[in-house]
């Protein structure tokens, strides 16, 4: 038998004490692992939200959001000011408009339904349907509402998901036009193409002009697939809104400069524009997750310290109990190092047994504890912001509670390494006491 074997055997000298210590350490290590699981899962979620947000500042005319509100469009002169600001790498401009049955032969792919009728009726205090905005079926004086087809003029046709207000974007056939194009071309949604029997190369009428379909996209949702995307210059010219911009996105060189760039854009445009950035909105949305991350980190550290203190006090108690035995062993030729290794082995045996129980607890409780923490925190948070942001972040907010924590091999490895660290830290004071025991003391006790 060597010092290590003796250390392992010594761990079982007092069965009740061993059982109690292992159980307590197991609970502590289990709690540590559950907190580690929560910390990692929440951290991954935060990273995924942050990476999906991007370094952009959104600019829209003051008081306007999509086709709601009021106010005046921005001008290209104002956007040119933004373009010159520090950290702004480029500005994507867009102009949204609605096609009417009088200037377009396109038929909407979306039926009005109850909601469409209600929105049409609620869109103004004394709403009178403009004759050109509706497909009319006049019989007995009633008007049938048909949702209009939205046309977006853009200088960034390669990133249509932004232009379409989010969602996944996939070009199913054809190509997009160039960003500086002023041709009478369009990329149209797949639903609209099907409804109007259009293919790449087909033409349709908009603003009483023939427009050629150069591409068809699938945005993954019915609303976006009922839209038309055209070059900005083309829409401005055909709709007689030369120089008008209804929304712009300033691209910033780094996420760390987004806040300062937002302030600079606000200063440059004054009260003419509503300026917001996605990062700030995302930070508000993920704030509860960051709280969980902090709580889980402190709980993890607290649990590790508690474990170390328990094993430390236990080992000190054991050393005091076996003071005479240590003296005898020293008297018959054992060095301090050998005795310390024996006691350290005993501490490691206890903590590794605790780690086995702790890993079991971590596997079982890791995910439920993570979900409990996330659910409690995200339920109390509110998703603020105007419609566009609700569209952009509503999904993220809803998916915050879908954080999933699991115990992988890395967590198990952390658990075992943590147990070893606890055992080593816990043995240090005991080792000091062992070194202080003088073999002569065993003679004095005789």
């Amino acid at each position: 038998m060597n010092v290590v074997t003796r250390g392992i055997r010594n761990a079982f000298r007092n069965t009740i004490r061993t059982f109690s210590i292992v159980l307590i350490l197991g609970l502590i290590i289990g709690l540590s692992l559950a907190m580690l699981v929560a910390h990692q899962a929440v951290g991954q979620k935060i990273s995924s939200v942050e990476s999906s947000v991007g370094n952009t500042v959104s600019i829209s005319p003051a008081g306007v959001r999509g086709f709601s509100g009021g106010g005046s469009p921005l001008t290209e002169t104002q956007i040119a000011k933004v373009q010159k600001l520090a950290h702004v790498t480029s500005v994507d401009e867009s102009l949204s408009d609605r096609l009417t049955t009088s200037n377009s032969n396109l038929v909407s792919a979306v039926d009005a339904g109850t909601l469409g009728q209600r929105f049409a009726g609620n869109s103004g205090q004394s709403f009178t349907p403009p004759p050109d905005a509706f497909g009319r079926s006049q019989s007995g004086g009633t008007t049938t509402f048909t949702p209009p087809v939205t046309v977006n003029g853009t200088t960034n046709p390669t990133n249509l998901s932004d232009t379409l207000g989010g969602g996944t974007f996939k070009l199913t056939s054809g190509n997009v036009f160039s960003s500086t194009s002023s041709d009478n071309v369009a990329v149209i949604g797949s639903s609209l193409a099907t409804k109007n029997n259009l293919k790449v190369g087909s033409t349709f009428t908009a603003y009483s002009t023939n427009i050629t379909v150069v591409g068809i996209f699938d945005a993954g949702n019915t609303f976006s697939n009922n839209q038309v995307v055209m070059p900005l210059k083309t829409v401005q010219t055909l709709s007689s809104q030369s120089g008008d911009i209804t929304s712009a996105t300033a691209n910033i060189d780094s996420i760390t400069n987004v806040d300062s760039a937002t302030t600079a854009v606000k200063n440059a445009l004054g009260s003419a524009a509503d300026v917001t950035n996605a990062a700030a909105q995302a930070q508000t949305t993920i704030a509860p997750l960051k709280s969980i991350q902090t709580i889980s980190l402190y709980s993890l550290l607290g649990a590790v310290v508690a474990g170390a203190v328990i094993i430390l006090l236990t080992m000190v108690m054991i050393v005091r109990e076996r003071r005479r035995e240590i003296g005898v062993i020293k008297a018959i030729g054992a060095s301090n190092i050998k005795i310390m290794i024996q006691f350290m082995t005993e501490a490691i045996t206890l903590t590794l047994l605790g780690a086995v129980i702790g890993i079991g607890i971590g596997v079982v409780a890791g995910n439920p504890i993570t979900k409990l923490l996330v659910t409690n925190s995200t339920n109390s948070s509110t998703l603020a912001g105007p419609g566009r942001f609700r569209r952009a972040f509503g999904g993220i907010g809803n998916s915050l509670s879908s954080v999933h924590g699991s115990v992988g091999w890395s967590i198990i490895l952390y658990g075992l390494v943590g147990a070893l660290v606890i055992a080593i830290i816990g043995s240090t004071l005991a080792s000091y006491f062992i070194a202080k025991v003088r073999p002569a003391e065993v003679m004095r006790a005789e």
């Binding site: 060597n2 062993i329 008297a331 030729g333």
Partner: protein, 223 residues
């Protein structure tokens, strides 16, 4: 040959110095069985712990063979304790969760004796002290006081020491068992050619040793 020259040990007790061993000089020849007697507090156990290198003297010399152990450094002292000295304590001081055999093997493990030799020698020594077969596999708690002291004697002899120091080895035993243990120590000293120095209160036991020293207030008063 064990030679003690002008040995002193002073302990601090509060503000006062206590002279536990005061200028003690004597010698014991190889293979001799010597005893130290004296009243409680006379410095017997302190003297024994100095001879066993368990404590350091304030001044003086302890020569074991040609080596002065008072000049040894810590690492050399550990080696000296493990290989040259055997201890027998009044209350046996066996490791409670080790069997009798494992207890006897323990000093040999620290002296880096190969495992096979450890098992053989420990078994042989336990046979010699009268602990046979299944008793060798028992833990101290399942052995009588006399049997435990036999195991302690076997442990003391494990590394074939030059000197065995026994502190009241019969103090916790009834007179009959005490006599048996004394006879065992005496016989083993002869067969293993080991010097034995024992501290005792029992004058009848002291009377049977080759040489007896009387200690009073830390001083050697009679030989």
């Amino acid at each position: 040959m064990l030679q003690i020259k002008e040995l002193k040990k002073v302990f601090k007790s509060g503000d006062t110095n206590v002279l536990a061993v005061d200028d003690v000089s004597f010698s014991v020849s190889d293979g001799q069985f010597a005893s130290i007697i004296g009243k409680s507090g006379s410095g017997k156990s302190t003297l024994l712990s100095l001879l066993g290198a368990l404590d350091k003297p304030t001044s003086g010399h302890i020569m074991v063979g040609d080596k002065d152990i008072t000049k040894l450094h810590d690492r050399a002292l550990i080696k000296y304790r493990g290989r040259k000295i055997g201890y027998v304590f009044q209350s046996y001081n066996l490791v409670p969760n080790l069997t009798a055999l494992e207890n006897v093997m323990l000093p040999m493990e620290f002296a880096k004796v190969p495992k096979k030799q450890r098992i053989e020698r420990a078994g042989k020594l336990l046979d010699q002290v009268g602990l046979k077969d299944d008793k060798q596999k028992r833990k101290p708690g399942r052995l009588s006081g006399g049997e435990q002291q036999r195991v302690a004697i076997a442990r003391a002899l494990a590394n074939k020491p030059q000197l065995i120091l026994a502190d009241e080895p019969t103090g916790n035993l009834d007179s009959q068992t005490g006599k048996m243990i004394f006879d065992l120590l005496h016989d083993l000293a002869k067969t293993e050619n080991t010097t034995i120095l024992t501290v005792t209160h029992d004058l009848s036991i002291a009377g049977k040793t080759d040489v007896t020293f009387i200690l009073s207030d830390g001083k050697l008063v009679k030989r």
